[in-house]
């Protein structure tokens, strides 16, 4: 836990450094005439400071937090699959169109959580896709992407 805590703090430090450096390039100005980069520079600096503080806190264990491994005993495989399918959804939505992409993604999501037959998953997916398409595209005029198939 300590190592992961430190890694997360280091990641935040990195973000702070990136913002500080970028702030310089857009102009910090002076304290009595602040430029567009001054406040982000100060905020980035404080983020670095607080993240260093977190490393210090973790090291000296000032506040005891969860000691168990983050992923042990968890069904994290499902989480990875869901996330991957959702990123894929965003990538192919404009190419395949709303109906096809949503139908395929929903089928995977309905299937994945617990043991469910493909037949049931596909049926639930078709129903959900049809309902949301009717509600959002037809009734609420959300205009979903059509994709190369034309629907």
């Amino acid at each position: 836990m300590k190592t992961i805590d430190n890694l997360s703090s280091l990641f935040l430090i990195l973000i702070g450094v990136v913002f500080c450096l970028s702030s310089f390039s857009i102009g910090i100005g002076r304290i009595n005439a602040p430029g567009p980069g001054l406040i982000p520079f100060g905020t980035g600096g404080l983020l670095i400071l607080f993240s260093l503080g977190t490393i210090f806190e973790t090291h000296f264990n000032m506040k005891v937090e969860g000691k168990t491994s983050l992923f042990s005993g968890r069904r994290w495989g499902i989480v990875v699959t869901v996330l991957l399918s959702l990123f894929l959804y965003a990538l192919v939505l404009d190419i395949l169109g709303f109906i096809v992409t949503t139908f395929l993604t929903m089928a995977v999501l309905f299937k994945i959580s617990e043991k469910q037959s493909w037949k049931l998953a596909l049926g639930a997916s078709a129903l959900t896709t049809a309902f949301t398409y009717f509600l959002f595209d037809y009734l609420l005029k959300c205009s979903f992407p059509r994709g190369f198939l034309g629907f």
Partner: protein, 501 residues
């Protein structure tokens, strides 16, 4: 518009058929998501925000506000019947509410929770009406230093009350501020931190961030755990509390209302904190504190009243100062901005119909909620039985559609998913999402107020300590930070936390 004509016109607006309908939709959805674990009011309001774009602003805000206070009612049902809080503000209700259900008193627990919520919610709205008007007039005299200090205080309180490390919560607030700086600088018109991406010129949207951190990440966390939801099988009867139960509950309801309302006003406070404080107070005042946790009706009546009164209180800083007191208010702040209104002291002057319409609609909303939560309790019990394997794909799909329909681009989906992943990891590593989102909303205002203050003072930070309101806010914020690091006080704080827990 003076106070009384404001109330009268407010009732005329909120009692129109269309606004009553949107109020009903809001409180219905609120109760639904309050009952269902897996998505809270923040995620839902963000989700439905794009759907309100074509509505008139008053109806939209009436509906979105209804979701917030409706969730407070619904959350208690799950806590009492399943021992799993449907909503964070109902966590403490599990302790005695579930025990009451096990003893065959589920009806009384649900009844007192609904009546307590109704009484507290209504008193909270009355308080909001009477306090907001003079406060908004006073707030007109606030300058940039006062605003900056108040926002600093709000963020400090929120990070101080964080479950884990205050340093981590502070880091999240700072990250939220940095994210809010992405886009065009309002003063110079220069693009900042946009990585030359056109989509980032207008900054990152509040809705994809909120849906990611509070919607997608919640689903991911629920997915990796196999949560058994055993509904306590009992016949729910006697929803109207008897005289003895009323006698025991009346004072906790009153105390809960006062605690909730004032903690709700406090930036960084809100429904969750007030429910815990109310429980602690009831336990302390009880002649049988040892019986708390075994089915004491006071342990249900107090916190449930507190979390509903907090809703009324939370609207005060939003409507009068333009400062969201908690993360749900931050999303409502975004909603007002999207509908072309700037929350704050000018809202009452420029858009009185929104202020009075929304406030008065809450009276009707509370009546509707009482009707929804008592006679229709059977419906919510049925909703509870929907398996999560059916529920989660639907929540995800609504999030995807909500994100896409903001600007009709997949970019917002990607942003939402990135923040969903970030929110998931944040939960695992004990980083809280609320300070990040609140800071993200406050960021542009804080930056502007700070830059203006520095211009006024010619670069001197003493300006924040020489004006009374600003000095008091800064002093309190600094005192909170110091108290966290002073070991003696820290031990005391831990002791209080343990006692409350």
């Amino acid at each position: 518009m003076d106070f009384f004509s404001g109330i009268i016109s407010g009732f005329a607006i909120s009692f129109s058929l269309i606004n009553l309908l949107y109020c009903f939709i809001g409180v219905f959805i609120g109760t639904l998501i309050g009952v269902l674990p897996g998505i809270g009011p923040v995620g839902t309001i963000s989700l439905l925000l794009p759907a309100t774009f074509h509505l008139n602003p008053v109806s939209a805000i009436i509906m979105l506000a209804g979701i917030y206070y409706g969730a407070m009612y619904g959350g208690s049902t799950t806590s009492i019947l399943v021992n799993i809080p449907g909503e964070a503000a109902s966590v403490i209700t599990c302790l005695d509410g579930y025990q009451m259900a096990r003893q065959g008193r589920a009806g009384a627990a649900l009844g007192i929770s609904a009546f307590g919520s109704f009484i507290a919610g209504t008193i909270g709205v009355i308080g909001l009406m009477f306090l907001a008007y003079p406060l908004a007039r006073m707030a007109l005299k606030f300058g940039p230093p006062e605003y900056f200090s108040l926002m600093c205080l709000g963020l400090t309180i929120l990070t101080y009350l964080a479950r884990g490390s205050m340093l981590k919560a502070m880091s999240m607030a700072l990250l939220g501020l940095l994210l809010s700086f992405i886009g065009i600088d309002v003063i110079t018109g220069l693009p900042r931190f946009t990585l030359d991406m056109v989509h980032l010129m207008d900054g990152i949207g509040l809705v994809p961030i909120a849906m990611g951190i509070f919607g997608i990440s919640e689903v991911l966390i629920n997915l990796e755990e196999v949560v058994r939801r055993d509904i306590f099988k009992t016949k729910i009867k006697g929803l109207l509390p008897n005289r003895g139960e009323w006698r025991r509950s009346s004072k906790p309801i009153l105390r809960g209302t006062i605690i909730g309302f004032f903690l709700g006003i406090l930036p960084g406070g809100g429904a969750v904190v007030s429910s815990f404080v109310s429980y602690g107070v009831e336990k302390k005042l009880s002649t049988h504190p040892e019986k708390f946790g075994t089915g004491m009706i006071e342990g249900v009546a107090g916190p449930e009243s507190a979390n509903n009164a907090a809703v009324g209180g939370a609207f005060i800083p939003l409507f009068t100062l333009g400062i969201p007191a908690n993360v749900t208010m931050a999303v409502l702040f975004g909603a007002l901005m999207i509908h072309g209104m700037t929350p704050g002291p000018m809202l009452m002057r420029e858009h009185p119909e929104v202020f009075w319409g929304v406030v008065t609609s809450m009276y009707m909303g509370n009546v509707l909620l009482l009707l929804l939560n008592l006679p229709l309790i059977g419906l919510w019990v049925k909703v509870l039985k929907i398996p999560y394997r059916i529920l989660f794909p639907l929540i995800i799909l609504f999030c995807l559609i909500g994100a896409y329909s903001l600007n009709n681009t997949s970019f917002d989906i990607v942003v939402m998913l990135i923040f969903g992943l970030a929110g998931y990891l944040m939960r695992k590593l004990n980083y809280e999402g609320a300070p990040l989102l609140l800071a993200f909303v406050l960021g542009p205002m804080m930056e502007q107020a700070l830059r203006q203050s520095l211009l006024i003072s010619q670069g001197s930070f003493t300006i924040f300590f020489t004006r009374p309101i600003s000095a008091a806010s800064m002093g309190l914020a600094l005192a909170l930070i110091v108290s966290y690091f002073l070991p003696f006080l820290k031990k005391k704080r831990l002791g209080i936390e343990e006692e409350a827990g």
